[in-house]
């Protein structure tokens, strides 16, 4: 790739019409913002759903508005199913990777757009349709799906005979996820091609910002994982609609009055293997971009290089590789071979090693720094704390013998919400406060941002820490109410506590919404480089013009040259020539 090839832009002029410019745009920045707004809409829906089922858990005998009285078990299960599906797919996969990745990956590697801009637009619109299809499941006569985000067959495969929520709603769930997989495959191809092919001169792999490493490794995971889930979705759709038996064994009986089902020969465990072969990499798809953002922000506001840059890049790759070897830890009690459980156990514990390496290096980055407590920085530090807490509970669940009592209890809910839910959301918040000035030309309000952080950080722990103890005492997930079991009824005060914490924390998100939309018009003007940062996005106007760079820049150094002794400024941007830098020496 020659330098000249870079300079030729895909579309030198921005399209003029509103629709081509803002709706069906091929500009990676517009698409990035579209994904981000889709995630914002999705997270709002997902959060409201969680309030509704939390209200039911706190007051199991109270009428919930909109549910025609006391919530029925199938309504509760539909809410948790849709909450999980929306959050994992349309928030945690969309915002950090497709949102920020689309916007900043090309800019940070010095490219004018993604490798395939039209494909990029197509990916977004397929994802958008997938979201509409999912939400439409709420409006089917047979009700929204109730099988959890994991949708295990035969329950999910045999149709309405298995009870409420197994009709059209479940079919829509499968179609939605299949569409989502297709879009994510296209996005992954685009990210990989862009990172490999479109880096500007001097942007060697070891000069890429860790955000780019995060997006790149995530794209590789997406390419390998979403194809498998897409296949699984097509198979289960055939089981549901075309009387095949990929996941349905012989002789199933649902009712005295009806003969055994005619399906035969399928295996429910096959779905579990396919699902988790996708499902475990998926948790890293959610968290790796947030890890990249955290490294990036910690370095910017500690005014120090990332501690152990190479170890950080290699550990991202190691996590990515190992993430495909650990899916069986979701299946210790599934009935798969108990011998394979030992292999999965050791591999799962092994993936803790690169995760620990990252944590040590984040602490190393803070060590000896000069920490600026911006809202972005607070969320990045919060990420580290949450990642440690959630990662450590993973050490329990990685051991099959300890998983026996803890599997499918609230301990697991606590673990994954902290480590891949809330931590990833903190990564998204850190990214938003950090890059908002670049995306919209104005800063978000710092005071509101900090208030948002304090309540959200405390709230996250108040909501999810008590769930560990509920799980240890044996409280099971996906229970609509205590079901007449005294030991569960005794946990009612904890449920009430969690629900109140969830309401307060949720309400605090209004600070974020307000701050976001208010700052679009009224925020302090940001200029090109408000954080005095080093990477390429801070070398162009805010917001960046169509095509990003007037002239594609050349890169001369690594991404985190902060605090070098012997210079007037405490940061050396990647694009400055050695001559320019020499003039800055004291």
């Amino acid at each position: 790739m020659s330098a000249e090839a870079h300079v030729v832009s895909h579309a030198p002029h921005a399209p003029r019409g509103f629709i081509r410019r803002y709706i069906f745009s091929t500009d990676h920045k517009v698409i990035g913002i579209q994904y981000w707004l889709l995630a914002l809409a999705a997270v709002s829906v997902g959060m409201v759903l969680s309030w509704l089922f939390r209200a039911h858990l706190a007051w199991p005998n109270a009428a919930i508005p909109g549910f025609g009285g006391v919530m029925k078990p199938e309504q509760y299960l539909a809410l948790v199913t849709m909450h999980g599906t929306i959050m994992i797919f349309f928030v945690l996969t969309v915002a950090p990777q497709s949102g920020f990745g689309n916007y900043f990956l090309p800019i940070q590697i010095g490219a004018d757009d993604m490798a395939f801009p039209r494909l990029n637009m197509l990916s977004f619109w397929i994802t958008f349709v997938a979201f509409l299809v999912l939400v439409s499941a709420f409006f089917t006569s047979a009700g929204a799906p109730i099988n959890g985000w994991t949708s295990y067959p035969p329950l999910s495969a045999v149709g309405s005979i298995a009870g409420p929520g197994q009709g059209t709603g479940e079919t829509l769930w499968v179609i939605s996820i299949a569409l989502f997989c297709l879009a994510s495959l296209l996005t992954a191809l685009n990210f990989i091609s862009t990172t490999i092919e479109m880096r500007t001169q001097g942007m060697s792999l070891m000069r890429m910002p860790l955000t780019v490493w995060g997006w790149f490794v995530t794209a590789v995971l997406g390419l390998l994982a979403f194809g498998v889930l897409l296949a699984a979705c097509i198979l289960v759709l055939l089981d549901r609609l075309a009387a095949t038996s990929f996941f349905i064994p012989a002789g199933l009986v649902f009712s005295d009055t009806q003969p055994p089902l005619t399906h035969a020969g399928g295996s429910p465990l096959l779905w579990e293997h396919l699902f988790w072969f996708f499902g475990h990499p998926e948790v890293y798809i959610a968290i790796l971009p947030a890890m990249g953002i955290t490294s990036h922000v910690l370095s910017s506001f500690s005014r120090k290089p990332v501690f152990g840059y190479k170890a950080m890049a290699y550990s991202l790759c190691a996590i990515g590789f190992l993430s495909f070897t650990v899916w069986g830890h979701h299946m210790f009690v599934s009935g798969m071979s108990p011998y394979s459980a030992l292999a999965f156990s050791f591999l799962t514990l092994a993936i803790g090693v690169p995760s620990a390496i990252k944590t040590f290096n984040w602490l190393g980055t803070l060590w000896g720094g000069r920490i600026h407590f911006t809202a972005a920085m607070l969320f990045a530090i919060g990420f580290v704390s949450l990642f440690v807490t959630g990662g450590l509970s993973g050490l329990f669940l990685a051991q099959p013998s300890i998983d026996l009592p803890l599997h499918d209890t609230y301990f697991v809910i606590a673990h994954f919400h902290i480590v891949m839910g809330v931590a990833a959301i903190f990564g998204i918040f850190a990214g938003t406060y950090y890059w908002f000035p670049k995306m919209f030309g104005r800063k978000m309000n710092e005071k509101l941002g900090k208030a948002h952080f304090w309540i959200t950080f405390a709230g996250a722990y108040l909501i999810f820490m008590p769930m560990h103890w509920m799980g240890i005492m044996g409280a099971l997930r996906r229970y609509a109410d205590p079901g007449g079991l005294p030991f569960l009824e005794r946990m009612a005060p904890i449920d009430l506590f969690i629900t109140i914490a969830a309401f307060i924390t949720g309400a605090a998100q209004l600070l974020f919404y307000f701050n976001f939309f208010w700052s679009l018009r009224h925020g302090e003007k940001a200029g090109e480089n408000p954080w005095h940062a080093t990477t390429l996005e801070w070398t162009i106007p805010s917001p960046p013009p169509h095509g990003n760079f007037v002239e594609i820049p050349r890169v001369y150094r690594g991404p985190y040259e902060y605090g070098l002794p012997g210079y007037k400024e405490d940061f050396l941007p990647q694009h400055l020539t050695p001559e320019q830098v020499a003039k800055m020496a004291t």
Binding site: L155, G352, I371, A398, Q399, G483, F487
Partner: protein, 276 residues
């Protein structure tokens, strides 16, 4: 970024964040260490081994948790912006090597120590003569079957399943062996090993008894055996731990662990009821 504004906001934020982290650590350590919310006591030897491994893991993760969060709190406070110069460093190969090796050894040792309890559950066969009980799970009830006086299970077939006729196992109605005992709860003699053979007639369920420290999915199309020896007389909840439909949380039964004499009495009673 050496603005006065940055420095002014920095101490307050550093203090608040450090305090929050310290409160998190103190509360968490107290609630775990004082066992405010414990597991119910285990009633099998394997259960006690699992608990020991759990305690060990709690210690290891507890120490890491305290060090990491307090370390984070300390750094946040110590290195807040006071206009100081940073300690410039790009990292340390020695440190990378040390913490990579240390965590690898620690985590894999922990995993190796967990193998024993798992092996006792899954790699060791039940002793010959262990009591055999068939378990049939369905939306949303449990059924248990004992072989009856002849010591043999009668043949079954899905076409004979009938809850309304009291035949949830689908015992072949044409078979001569009609003395199997079918019960909606699980009665077991204390101190005797039992092997359960888990089956489902519709969707995936999960056999979970907290005090046994056992959780096992029941997958339609498979017969999955588990075995254990209950050592404590008492009554325990049998729960379904795998989402099986709208009645999932109401799918429970009772495990009654009784003395050998009471168990024989119960068997006789069931046999008598069978003959009526």
């Amino acid at each position: 970024m050496r603005s006065e504004e940055g420095q002014r906001g920095s101490t307050a934020a550093a203090v608040v964040l450090s305090l929050m982290l310290l409160i998190l650590v103190a509360t968490t350590v107290y609630l775990f260490a004082a066992r405010v919310y414990p597991m119910p006591p285990a009633i099998t030897r394997v259960g006690h081994w699992i608990d020991r491994q759990y305690d060990l893991t709690l210690w290891v993760t507890g120490v890491i948790f305290v060090l990491a969060q307090v370390g984070l709190a300390w750094m946040v406070f110590r290195y807040r912006d006071r206009g100081q110069k940073v300690h410039f460093t790009r990292g340390s190969h020695v440190l990378e090597l040390v913490w990579t090796t240390a965590t690898f050894i620690l985590f894999t040792t922990l995993g190796a120590m967990a193998v024993h309890a798992w092996a006792q559950v899954h790699f060791v066969s039940p002793a010959p003569g262990a009591l055999q009980v068939d378990v049939m799970a369905e939306q949303f009830t449990w059924n248990f079957r004992y072989p009856g006086p002849d010591g043999k299970f009668a043949p079954t077939s899905p076409k004979d399943y009938s809850d309304s006729n009291g035949n949830p196992f689908g015992i072949d109605t044409s078979s001569k062996d009609q003395d199997d005992i079918v019960s909606p709860y699980l009665e077991l003699p204390v101190g005797q090993e039992v092997e359960l053979r888990l089956e489902s007639k519709d969707v995936i369920h999960d056999f979970y008894v907290r005090e046994l420290r056992i959780k096992q999915d029941i997958v339609p199309g498979m017969i999955i055996p588990i075995h254990f020896t209950p050592l404590q007389i008492g009554t325990y909840d049998i729960l379904c731990a795998q989402l099986c439909g709208m009645g999932h949380n109401r799918m429970h039964s009772t495990l009654r662990v009784v003395s050998e004499a009471d168990f024989q009495k119960w068997l006789k009673q069931q046999e008598a009821e069978n003959q009526q």
